[in-house]
Amino acid sequence: MSRPDNKALPATTGSRVPFHIDFKAIGPFVALIVLFVLGTAINEAFLSSGNLSNIFTRSSFIGIIAVGATFVITAGGIDLSVGSMAAFIAGAMIMVMNGLVQSIGPGVETVLIGIGVSIVLGIGAGAINGLVSTRGKIEAFIVTLGTMGLYRSLVTYMADGGTLSLDFGVRGTYRPVYYGDVLGIPMPVLVFLGVAIIGYVLLNMTPFGRKCFAIGSNEQVALYSAINVDRVKTLTYIIQGLCVSIATIIYVPRLGSASSSTGVLWELEAIAAVIIGGTMLKGGYGRIWGTVVGALMLTTIGNILNLTDAISNYLNGAVQGLIIIVAVFLQRGDWRRKKN
């Protein structure tokens, strides 16, 4: 359709305001910085390299899981099973590796096989969540509530109610995966960074990510845009499973154990990190960097509370809750509008 006089129109596209700051995007970072200032004010030790490294390392577990959750939630789903899934995978890894010590010894092969098992289980568990909810047309909330109970039970059963502990030999081999560092950056942080970057690229720069946005935003439109909605949704759960598996791989060498209390409430923390980061719970909009910052914020709040005894221990939860609400309020930036 050619239109000769189109040129005469004022250019309506591509006009961008220079130096426009997108408050929505930087909001989480601002909130994180405020937290850091608060931490430093409370205790100088907060800024010590050891403490910072602890915060980042600790955030890695929840952070990696939350990167996966960002996909699920962006595509309009939810996964409540991640915490139990992590416990189950950790338990299975430990059992397999302990079993292998007899036959092939506590060497690198054993650890590699353990890691392989973790990945297979993570993908499998994710696929189950995805397939049962899409094929069975059952709400993801129900399906993953069910598998949450399932995996929690399985790990309890495998550990006979107690704790599964990794063989000491294997622990030595495996140890660097958690305790090691490259150029001073702890391994878990590197892995977290890697997962976040890959997640970012996948969500924002590939057709798959685009499809996640589309499905979460309007499933009908996605369907009419030749998107295999069921497949993409299932894939988001598989990505979630894979992320849980990766988180577990770096978790296991830390304490070398798994029990029924491993990963309890991680699902809530992961979802909270995602939502704090600005992803919409109803789907259609997701932000990996927000999620990363969300995970860091949650860890930092916990850390700050441990650095002071000004607050009664009983009230930790209250302070934590209030800080989360205030941080989200600040970062959403709605208070700024009032001034206009």
Binding site: N6, R210, N228
Partner: protein, 519 residues
């Protein structure tokens, strides 16, 4: 800018100026979409508002009814300066707007939507009996036989529009504003609506009517105001102005020939052949051929099953029995991606619900259907932006800026974006369902020529339309459906309104006895 209250004489002499907007300006962020527009609505008068897509019509009427606040300018109601803080205030003052885009809660029923926010009660409880019977009588006034208990999501778009009209009626408007009410209505429903508008006019209601259909404006309106690029161009008595004049005022130039000149090759090879295709409960035993370079129209009454048939062909609906052949060889199409693979694309008539992601901007919408074209494994942002630039030029999409949510686009520009989106797959066969819904006359002509260009490139088009001129002006042959069956395929001189109606109503049926005649 002239004061409409003074300048309007003639028809309006004995009538009272009810509501006027004076020197209305409106900006969204940095983009100004209305510049000093004035308009006056008189009781007992139908005032038409005309303008290209994106001219600012919807924005203006939203300001008049309180949904938007003007950046500057003044509303005057019955001689008093006024301002509506929100739509509620507007409604309290008797100004009712029927939106261009449907505003219904999909999960709720017809009755629930009609009375939403103004439920009738007995004591603390809902008076469902009263609401149901009142809903029934409102729908009866519109000769609409849907049940008040049907959920909106189970209704066709035209029925939804009738519900919107019923909802507006229930509010007893003094000043009624209708924003393109007929874009999704069938001819019969338009007639009903016009009857209604005439009655309301006789009762002294002031009516503002937006449409891209100049025939309608000629038929129903007393006055017409034309907007172009957010500016007031002219206000005339309809009797004093011809359709061509209106079009010229609107577009700012002469509209060339409306339909393209095309000659289809009747011997061209068959590119798509459908045999005995059925969709459970919706389509029965449909067979037809589509030739290279041809426009095959599909006519029928709403609910005849045209959309269902097309959705089955492209794999969005389960087909039961039947075959589809592309270029002579049978193909299995189980999903829209299969259809895409075989070069078939489909443009839905439900642009809001199925066509566009309203909360996103143009770029992701444009490329969604053909994502793989824009790079793998990574989407090339540059390729996307190039495509967007091309599409904006090719389809004359006008948006304030490329970051605007598609949901904030004017209706016509949404439609153009949807068309651009479908064309990104570069299909050989395009199935277009109501392509010019809500499109202004100038752009309409462009779309027709665009379809002509497609066939000239050897592509084939299936056209589903409820606009008879469009159907007759573009189609080489016309398949007519009635009650889920193809009752006839008309070509040559048979392609006329009378014949189409006979087949569409089942009076004639080439494929066996008419289902409506006693056997």
């Amino acid at each position: 800018m002239t004061d409409p209250a003074v300048s309007l004489t003639g028809v309006g002499q004995t009538r009272k100026l009810r509501l006027s907007g004076q020197d209305i300006c409106k900006s969204f962020g940095p983009a100004q979409v209305l510049h000093d527009v004035s308009i006056g609505l008189y009781s007992g008068e139908v005032h038409a508002l005309l303008g290209e897509n994106g001219a600012g019509k919807s924005t203006l009427v939203k300001i008049l009814s309180g949904y938007h606040q003007p950046t500057s300018g003044q509303l005057v109601l019955d001689g008093h300066k006024t301002g509506f803080a929100n739509s509620d205030a507007g409604e309290k003052a008797g100004v009712i707007l029927i939106h261009q885009e449907l505003n219904l809660a999909e999960q709720l029923t017809v009755e629930e939507n009609i009375f939403l926010g103004r439920e009738m009660t007995r004591g603390w409880f809902l008076d469902k009996v009263a609401m149901r019977s009142q809903a029934r009588s409102l729908l009866d006034r519109l000769q609409c036989d849907i049940s008040p208990e049907t959920r909106i999501r189970d209704l066709s778009v035209s029925d939804r529009q009738m519900v919107e009209i019923a909802k507006a009626l229930s509010k007893n408007a003094d000043i009624l504003i209708l924003d393109e009410p007929t874009a999704v209505l069938t001819g019969r429903e338009v007639d009903i609506l016009f009857g209604l508008i005439r009655r309301l006019r006789a009762q002294g209601v002031a009516i503002l009517y937006i449409s891209h259909k100049l025939d309608e404006i000629k038929a129903i309106a007393d006055m017409v105001t034309v907007l172009r690029d957010g500016r007031h161009v002219a206000t005339h008595a309809v009797a004093d102005i011809s359709k061509d004049d209106m079009a010229r005022l609107m577009v700012g130039r002469d509209i060339a020939q409306m339909f393209p000149d095309r000659v289809a090759d009747e011997q061209a090879p068959v590119v798509l052949s459908v045999r005995n295709l059925s969709v459970p409960g919706m389509v029965h035993d449909a067979s037809f051929d589509l030739r290279k370079g041809e426009v095959l129209g599909f006519a029928g009454i709403v609910g005849a099953g045209r959309t269902a048939l097309m959705e089955a062909i492209i794999g969005l609906r389960p087909q039961s029995g039947g075959t589809i052949a592309r270029n002579g060889s049978d193909v299995a199409i189980a999903s829209l991606s299969d259809a895409k693979k075989y070069g078939i694309a489909y443009l839905t008539k439900d642009r809001k619900g199925r066509g566009l992601l309203l909360n996103m901007d143009m770029r992701p919408n444009l490329t969604l259907l053909a994502l793989e074209k824009f790079g793998s494994p990574l989407i090339s942002r540059k390729a996307e932006e190039d495509a967007l630039e091309k599409a904006i030029a090719a389809f004359d999409i006008r948006a304030a800026d490329s970051k605007t949510r598609v949901g904030d686009f004017s209706g016509g520009n949404q439609q153009k974006l949807l068309l651009a989106k479908v064309m990104e797959t570069d299909p050989d066969i395009v199935i277009i369902d109501e392509p010019t819904r809500g499109i202004d006359i100038g752009t309409k002509s462009q779309i027709y020529h665009f379809i002509g260009d497609l066939t000239a490139q050897g592509k084939s088009v299936i056209l589903l339309s409820s606009e008879m001129p469009e159907m007759l002006g573009l189609s080489d042959r016309i398949a007519v459906m009635a009650a889920g069956r193809i009752t006839g395929i008309l070509s040559g001189d048979d392609r006329n309104e009378h014949e189409i109606m006979r087949y569409a109503t089942g009076i004639s049926d080439k494929n066996g006895a008419s289902p409506y005649e006693p056997s």
